[in-house]
């Protein structure tokens, strides 16, 4: 099975795999994580300080977390990646399939500094390295006064101006859980969320914003979308405030990115050193202040201004819904079907 899988998926990922292979030959540790502005900023404030100690790092763009999981599966017999940063749901699969190392607290003293929720998110494997959360983004030029609730997207004046991703996309799952919690104080109760979802769906232009909700707002195609806080905050800054970011009153959920050492990593010692570095207070502070991901290291001394733009700010913490992603994965197929049959089907164009 391993040979077949490696052969097939190795062919599919051959171009991407060539880069880490070259890096391995040069002795660099290979980190696989997200592309675009994440890479630019993570490279600047986390990777470069680590490299300054004389430990070269090759950053490989892995696409989405699912694509990264595919790469790890393809390379299981001969890993070319040493460290991977991916979202918690996909990391749980990598952990269950033995693609990443377990990280016992006894062998990783840094874990004592990590937020319990971030540690629990990783299970037996790598912990959360940064918190992100679901937000609502809107066009500040077209929507006045500033909205405070997700249900602002259901207002009759916003017909055709809303874009948000439907399940199985993780944002669709998240907003379903948030609206269920708001209606029934139980995020698992999708039935309680249905009326709200249908009301928003009636205004929805697309359930699959392309290229993304932020760009569609900037192009004037949408006035509302959902997004992840860190990227939304950057787009807000880059657009000089045209994009507004709201942590809605209904609440939010954390989307936790985990960091893991790949099982049988070729540069295991450097990989462990990098994971320790990435989880330590100083890089976490620097990355939060650069990109507004919440730090998972509880000793990170983040500036109040930056912390205010994360869900870890005191006034926002009680809006964060404690959601068990493992339980969510078990509910996902049923939710997906209800969305298709009851929400999307009720919102024709």
């Amino acid at each position: 099975m391993r040979i077949w899988t490696s052969a097939l998926l190795g062919m599919a990922g051959i171009a991407a795999a060539a880069l880490p292979a070259a890096a391995q030959q040069s002795g660099a540790m290979t980190l696989m994580a997200y592309a675009g502005i994440f890479r630019e900023n993570y490279n600047d404030v986390v990777v470069k300080p680590f490299q300054a100690s004389g430990a070269p790092v090759q950053y490989v763009e892995g696409g989405t977390s699912a694509q990264m999981l595919g790469m790890l599966r393809a390379q299981k017999a001969d890993p070319q990646i040493d460290v991977v940063i991916m979202d918690v749901t996909t990391a749980a699969l990598a952990c269950a399939e033995g693609l990443v190392e377990k990280m016992p607290a006894a062998a990783w003293p840094i874990l004592s500094q990590i937020d319990p929720q971030a540690r629990a998110a990783g299970g037996e494997c790598g912990p959360g390295v940064m918190f992100d959360h679901l937000v609502m983004v809107y066009d500040t030029q077209a929507v006045k006064p500033a909205p405070t609730r997700f249900m602002a997207m259901a207002d009759a004046s916003q017909r055709g101006a809303v874009g948000f991703a439907a399940p199985p996309n993780i944002q669709g799952l998240a907003i379903t859980a948030i609206l269920a919690q708001a209606q029934a104080q139980d995020w698992r109760n999708i039935g309680a969320a249905m009326a709200s979802l249908k009301a928003i769906a009636a205004n929805t232009q697309t359930f699959d914003p392309k290229p993304d909700g932020y760009t569609m707002i900037l192009n004037g195609q949408l006035r509302f979308a959902t997004g992840w806080n860190a990227r939304a905050q950057l787009y807000r800054d880059q657009s000089q405030g045209r994009i507004g970011v709201v942590l809605p009153e209904e609440g939010t959920i954390f989307q936790i990115n985990t960091i893991n050492v790949v099982a049988n990593a070729k540069n295991r010692a450097r990989a462990a050193a990098f994971v320790n570095h990435a989880l330590s207070a100083e890089p976490q502070k620097a990355f939060t202040e650069r990109m507004f991901y919440g730090p998972t290291n509880t000793t990170a001394q983040v500036s109040p201004e930056a912390m205010q733009r994360t869900a870890l700010a005191p006034e926002f913490r009680n809006r964060v819904i404690a959601l068990d992603w493992e339980e969510m994965l078990k509910l996902r197929d049923g939710w997906n079907q209800r969305w298709r049959r009851e929400v999307i089907a009720a919102a024709p164009r």
Partner: protein
Amino acid sequence: MIGWLLAAPALAVLALAFVWPMAGLFRISLNRTTETGAMEAAVTTDSYARLVGDDFTRELVLNTLTLAASSAAIAVALALPIALLVRGASPRWRGLLALAAVAPLLVSGTARLVGWMAILGDQGMINALLTGMGISTGPLALINNWTGVRIGLVESLMPYAVLVLLAGLGRLDPKLEEAAATLGANRARTFLRVTLPLAAPALLAAWLLTLVLGISAFITPRLMGGGRVFVLATEIYDLALETVDWPGAAALAMLLLGGLLALMILRGVVAAFFPGNRAEKTP
């Protein structure tokens, strides 16, 4: 024997680039997906049973066939006048017109779709024109729905239909049409009673080819559907890259491949059965 030797490099490439990955895909389809989505090595037909027993799979098949069949029919209907125009042109212009008809194939399909998104969007050129002229009071929904997908798919299938029709029509003997005219048939009657019946095998071949392409289309439903259009190809993508259910994605891909192979065999039977298409094989 020499023929097999000459074909050996191509067969080797085919085996490496198609048969081997397909065999691997089939193997993955026999693995098991746990409740939380992890993939376990196994030899089981669970994924096939789950898909076959799911009402939504049947809906996907119906959606896919309806979209592909209707888009292919429209594409062939639109391609026929173009093919007739090229066929009737003087030799001096024929090559240039044929090139123009298939020119969209020279541009990336994704780039063409991005262009369509700009044209058909709520703030796109067509809606701006319609509202500017007072024909409509608000934007028409030309994208992020089945209409948008059908428009994009027809446009992408038309060049293939033109190519097949040019090959088929090129073998029709123009003397038959001349004879009809000599016997008093006007142009419309000649077209309906002579050209069209003789072109039927080429029309069927063009429809079958574009049907197969339409069934496997992914980019158009994905980019133009706005999350409202569910077909087999988009479902395979979701299973593979959203829910990370590889055995399910692989099983659905194998079922789709089986269906497409059946259609290709049908196309071969049609090509062998109709006299018009037998003529195509004549050197």
